[in-house]
Symmetry: C2
């Protein structure tokens, strides 16, 4: 990687963490200079403005989370285990978050839904892809006879996603990961009740 590309990637990765903690509106160019250790000119050499940097930083954050999701489901053989493992990635959201500041989708959605159409559009796309991942897991569970074929998958996906993101919010607000773990346990229970064909818990 050439030096210019390295610098650019350094800026994007540091900005991703900064925006995830402080939000787009709460992060100034001075903050970005502090986090990257670069002068203003060194940043604007690579990005036209804060918007361009924020869009790339969000892509970076989403890609990082996507790797984390895929890692969570790798090696899990049942669809139920895959879902439960996926919904456990924020179980140490306070002590050991995948990305400092919490969930970038949640943070960006709330930060930009009434204020920044371009970032909002990116957050929508990220949520579409997340729903697609859940859909493919649930479908494969139905195909293998693990999950009920008559389950209302789309409603289940929305409900689980809502609970997952809300659990992050509560844990972050109280600085206590236990709320996320409580939420994840209830989600596992819900998956067992609503999706699994057998009434036995698999985990």
């Amino acid at each position: 990687m050439r030096k210019g590309e390295q610098t650019k990637e350094h800026i994007v990765s540091q900005a991703a963490k900064l925006f995830n903690r402080q939000g787009f509106h709460g992060s100034s160019i001075t903050d970005i200079m502090r986090e990257t250790g670069l002068r203003k000119g060194g940043i604007y050499n690579h990005f036209a403005n804060k918007d361009e940097l924020a869009l790339q930083a969000f892509d970076y954050a989403v890609e990082l989370m996507r790797e984390r999701y895929l890692q969570a489901i790798a090696g899990k053989t049942s669809a139920c285990e895959q879902l439960i493992s996926l919904f456990s990635i924020y179980n140490e959201i306070v002590e050991n978050p995948p990305l400092e500041g919490g969930c970038p989708l949640l943070n960006t959605a709330i930060d930009t839904d009434d204020t920044h159409p371009a970032l909002k559009e990116k957050a929508r796309t990220a949520l579409d892809r997340w729903r697609g991942l859940l859909r493919s897991i649930i479908r494969s569970g139905i195909d293998t006879g693990e999950f009920r074929a008559d389950a209302d998958s789309e409603s289940v996906i929305i409900f689980l996603t809502a609970a997952f993101e809300g659990g992050v919010m509560i844990s972050k607000l109280y600085d206590n990961s236990e709320y996320m773990r409580v939420t994840a346990r209830q989600m596992a229970q819900y998956i067992t009740t609503e999706l699994l064909i057998t009434s036995e818990r698999t985990l």
Copy 2:
């Protein structure tokens, strides 16, 4: 009410809507001047700074939502109906939100959890009170024999709150209230399965 008090209340109510849409960090004093129709001096005459105004605006927003909650449960005789009615208040979150910009608790929690300890503390207190309201409804449902006495109330409260807030986020992001309604329906289903003693749906 004296004129000074009227002006102060006008500033607080307008600022509450502004902060709920744009966030604390995304709202400048210029924005506040535009929303209130006042000059800078007219605002600083009543508030020492943006922080002081934001704290009072959050109290105002929370009080407004609390009135909306109490209105939702008024006249509902069963605990199940009270919960379902409470969780329906954001069913038209896009077209007809109780407060412009979505849920002030969710917005303030995300906006300030890593950045503004005083507002974060207020958001925590608001979430404590909300949980207290759910707790009292569930307890009364247990007392009357409507809900299971062995229900894990505290976990149920966290899970329902997480789903409720996450549903708001999803609907706001997609500009589509249907996601909130889907979430609310799944919550009603969950309440029926986890809390109600009879297997019959009451709604």
